[in-house]
Chain length 600, copies 2
């Protein structure tokens, strides 16, 4: 099992030079979060990730979470790590200082979250879900609810969960059937079964605050009849101390492909008359509330894709730098396999995509800071539109690539990669959930195409594409041939994507299925091109630094990575864009297939 | 867990109409293997695969093979299934009738092997490795060795293994260190440790015939000093009965990501003075002998890719046809998720690639029949050259795609796909070994580029490309617009591939690393284009059948699948071909990266 070392240098580059952080410290309330503080926080987080969370990752996979009479035992060391994690204040990093948070920008908490995910993705799901509960209560809870729940959630004394899915309501939440009956005293009796509840039960904290979607008796059918409830495991007394155990329990845990340490619970509410729940906000607006925190959750899962990919990369690079095997073309003997052109290609494929994914995820996080804090309302609106646009790309693209990257991580090891003790396989198994939960890739792709591109007639898409074109043009005007070539390749990829966007905007109103058949390649193409755009920008920054005399090898490496990306990753963009534009033919072909589907 | 149903209709199409079988029954010795016999064999195999092997697949995964004091217990039901399998004569299907085989063409045994792999890949590794041992002894053993070992291997009374890998000799077999010391009586004392020995120990058979690579005391260093030995678990007495137990044992089993039922053994030879081994053929030619059977083994693993993909497809299609979730664009309510454009895209992506992979693997098998049996020596030589060319593509491309296809199989299930009991995850885990063993994808890609393309100056590549061009031209001359468009798209993909081949032939002598940096995209591009070529041919055959009045929906489906493939899969070819041709830039970029590799 390889150690984890946080990629601080690349993170700092993205934060300080690419985004850059100065745009965030210019926002009201974030003035203090400059390079120095950011550096100190990243260093501390790196120590915790490397020293505490990372060593537990393999143990967590092997032991898994275990259910015994409705109580869950997490793997050895996890509970203690959670206590340390809470005490160090990591949960409340970006939370409201009024309730004990540190009020730092999402840009920084995103970098820190990448580290947690690299170090121990299964562990990190508990704070991720708690953050979702904090978000929901912060934005939609009453003053009393905020006072009662936020301080203990933010301090880590309690944890939170999100209860959406039911056996018949997976991707389609409109059919949620869990019931909420008014108890007559302002509270509700919740009853029903929820599945796939991450950390639905565990031993980290004395209380768990469940946020549950349920339906009131008189609620309209469909998405506009779902309400959101706080349903604590232990009811909280007015003085803040714990009261009686609520009528809810974990009745089983899923046996999963990966993230074994994370208990995925089937939760049963109300077997003895109804679990006491407290309505959040207004009735029948639960799904809308859930969606306000969906952006953060989806960005969080996209970041899991970045984090697990980085971990797999480090594992593979470490192995490839020490394993000696075979003669290397045009090189002296006894070099490690990293020097074989094809192994090097695999490592660079991992590395270049991770750097692109990180850049895009951090860039989106910075947009969320601007959307929240910019002094100018128009600028806030523009940032929110940009963020909304980027979220399905960050979630969809970074998680799909995480599956490919962790698979390459296995491949670099050869036979050793298939042996569990090596550790590469765990990353591959863990990564596989990321394109599924918080909205599958198909849902992200449809969201991008339908809500984010078609709905505004391609306006936001064009706005982003114009920025990309400006970058490509600027690269093309460089006197340096390498940067110039990068600009040319980027420019044609953007044009291909632009044509696909135009085709979709034009086709959707006439033939929605034909447009939707291209949703996946469009999302993937957008991810690849946006990644190329940010790496192209990075290469230009690096080139300028080198021209100014910087001798840091990091900058030469950054240009090399961008060059590799342009030739080996961005080269796929034109084919994907082409696939988008043949939706009608494809739909016809698919209909032929659907008539006779059960064997190939 | 979904059942398996052999895709007989598509197999028969490939065998009878695409290859076609009539070219094989025209070969001396295969006259009897016509459509009727082929149909009967496929039907019987389908019954066995569906009824006996498939139900054991999940049990095998859950129980795994277990080691206890050097003895291995296979999962419940496996031993009995192996007995039935042997008794039904499946092991000797394509083997020499002189030793009890049925002497059928590889084209048919390949179709049958696809079924075994779909039904139970972990089980099938035992007959696959036994086939390797049969091959080695048939081609290189003495008359006495053939008489002693072949009948019992072919009947399934005994099993065989291949012992190549050692801890320091993985992809690079030149450093094999296992020793063979002459015992003075014509036998040898073998000592050393072999790893990753598939079915190195098990309870299926009374004896196991190990084929072991080892080095004689006076052997030259490197690949030309390795000899091949027969090392039976129990020595065989002259009357054919079992004698003493040989000095060899299984000292541990690997804990693997997948194929849990297949015992992957660490074998220790000669702990008590040396295991008795018998030299096969001439001294120091062991690696050469191994390579003569490598084609069959690599075709076998490529076929595992096809088989496991088909199984994953059936699992996913079955689920998608019954799961109802969400409103489907432009369709009435309550349709299953298969009708969502993106789910349909995933299923079609799986299905179209599987049909292309099957066509290519069966096509390669037919070439091996021609190489073996054609009456004309020049035709045999041409078929052998074609087969040699196709093997790294079948192995490399079909197994890489198997990982992607089984991953899509998980994705189609949403959250259910991540839960082990669903069964989709097993296929994803099992598939992951296929791009690794019998030569990693990188080794296949380098083999294609170096030995198969560059060595003859691109002659065989051009020969295949010319055939593809002829097909594209013929499709383009069709009066049918759909077929015409297919021909045009195929034609430009072939041109792009052709340019990449020319670039590689020209560049390799000047700059081998730059050429090798493109080995993987070149191999992948060849697979995609060759698959498109065979599906294009299939569509033309189907169109002709429909014009002749065939009402079988299968033919319409075949055209739909080809159309989808052209637009969604073949569209990647140009980008891959482009990536091949920038090797110099990429090598420079990779060198930048290698200096500073340990975090992204």
């Amino acid at each position: 099992m390889a150690d984890y070392n946080a990629p601080l240098r690349d993170m700092q580059f993205v934060i300080n030079e690419l985004v850059p952080l100065s745009e965030i410290t210019a926002l009201p309330g974030y003035e203090e979060a400059g390079e120095e503080l950011a550096g100190a926080i990243l260093d501390e987080a790196a120590k915790f990730a490397n020293g505490v969370l990372s060593p537990l990752n393999w143990i967590g996979d092997q032991q898994g979470a275990i259910l015994n009479s409705n109580a869950v035992t997490t793997p050895k060391g996890f509970k203690e790590a959670y206590e340390q994690f809470s005490q160090a204040g990591w949960i409340g990093l970006a939370c409201d200082p009024e309730y004990g948070g540190q009020g730092l920008p999402a840009l920084l908490s995103t970098a820190v979250n990448e580290m947690w995910n690299s170090a121990n993705m299964a562990f990190t799901l508990c704070p991720l879900l708690t953050a979702g509960a904090i978000d929901a209560i912060t934005h939609h809870g009453s003053a009393e609810q905020k006072a009662m729940y936020l301080p203990n959630l933010i301090s880590g004394k309690w944890a939170g969960t999100m209860n959406l899915t039911e056996p018949n309501a997976g991707s389609d939440l409109s059919v949620v059937a869990t019931k909420a009956a008014p108890a007559g005293d302002g509270t509700y009796k919740i009853s029903g079964t929820k599945i796939y509840i991450t950390y639905g039960e565990h031993d980290f904290t004395e209380n768990i605050i469940h946020l549950v979607l349920a339906r009131l008796p008189d609620a309209p059918a469909g998405v506009k009849g779902i309400s959101l409830f706080i349903v604590p495991k232990f009811l909280v007394k007015p003085d803040g101390s714990l009261g009686v155990r609520n009528d809810l329990k974990c009745i089983s845990l899923e046996h999963k492909l990966g993230i074994h340490a994370s208990p995925t619970a089937v939760m049963s509410y109300g077997e003895s008359g109804g679990a006491t729940g407290f309505l959040v906000g207004q009735a029948n607006r639960g799904l809308e509330y859930m969606f306000t925190m969906m952006n953060a959750a989806r960005l969080g899962v996209g970041l899991e894709g970045v984090g697990i990919s980085e971990r797999a990369y480090q594992q593979a690079a470490g192995y490839a730098m020490q394993r000696v095997q075979g003669k290397i073309a045009a090189k002296p003997g006894n070099l490690p396999i990293a020097h074989h052109p094809d192994v090097s290609r695999m490592l660079m494929t991992m590395r270049a995509q991770i750097q692109a994914m990180r850049a895009l995820a951090f860039f989106a996080a910075a947009e969320s800071d601007k959307a929240m804090r910019h002094a100018d309302a128009a600028a806030r609106g523009a940032a929110q539109a940009r963020l909304d646009f980027l979220i399905p790309i960050v979630k969809g693209w970074c998680t799909e690539q995480a599956v490919e990257i962790t698979s390459l991580g296995v491949q670099v090891h050869g036979g050793m990669g298939f042996v569990e003790e090596t550790g590469a396989a765990q990353h591959f198994r863990d990564a596989r959930i990321t394109p599924i939960y918080e909205g599958t890739t198909g849902i992200q792709a449809n969201d991008l195409l339908g809500r984010k591109i078609v709905r505004d007639g391609g306006k936001e898409a064009k706005c982003l594409l114009e920025e990309m074109k400006a970058t490509a043009a600027s690269l093309q005007s460089s006197p340096n041939m390498e940067i110039k070539a990068m600009g040319a390749a980027l420019g044609s990829a953007i044009l291909a994507l632009n044509r696909a966007v135009e085709w979709v905007v034009e086709t959707f109103p006439k033939n929605a299925p034909a447009a939707l058949a291209g949703a996946y390649p469009l999302m993937k193409c957008f991810g690849i091109v946006a990644g190329g755009w940010l790496l192209g920008k990075s290469a230009a920054i690096a080139k300028a630094k080198i021209s100014q005399g910087a001798s840091d090898h990091f900058y030469a490496q950054k240009i090399g990575v961008a060059t590799f990306y342009i030739h080996h990753i961005l080269s796929a963009a034109a084919g994907l864009a082409q696939s988008v534009r043949v939706g009608e033919e494809v739909i016809t072909a698919m209909e032929h297939g659907l008539n006779d589907l059960l064997t190939s």
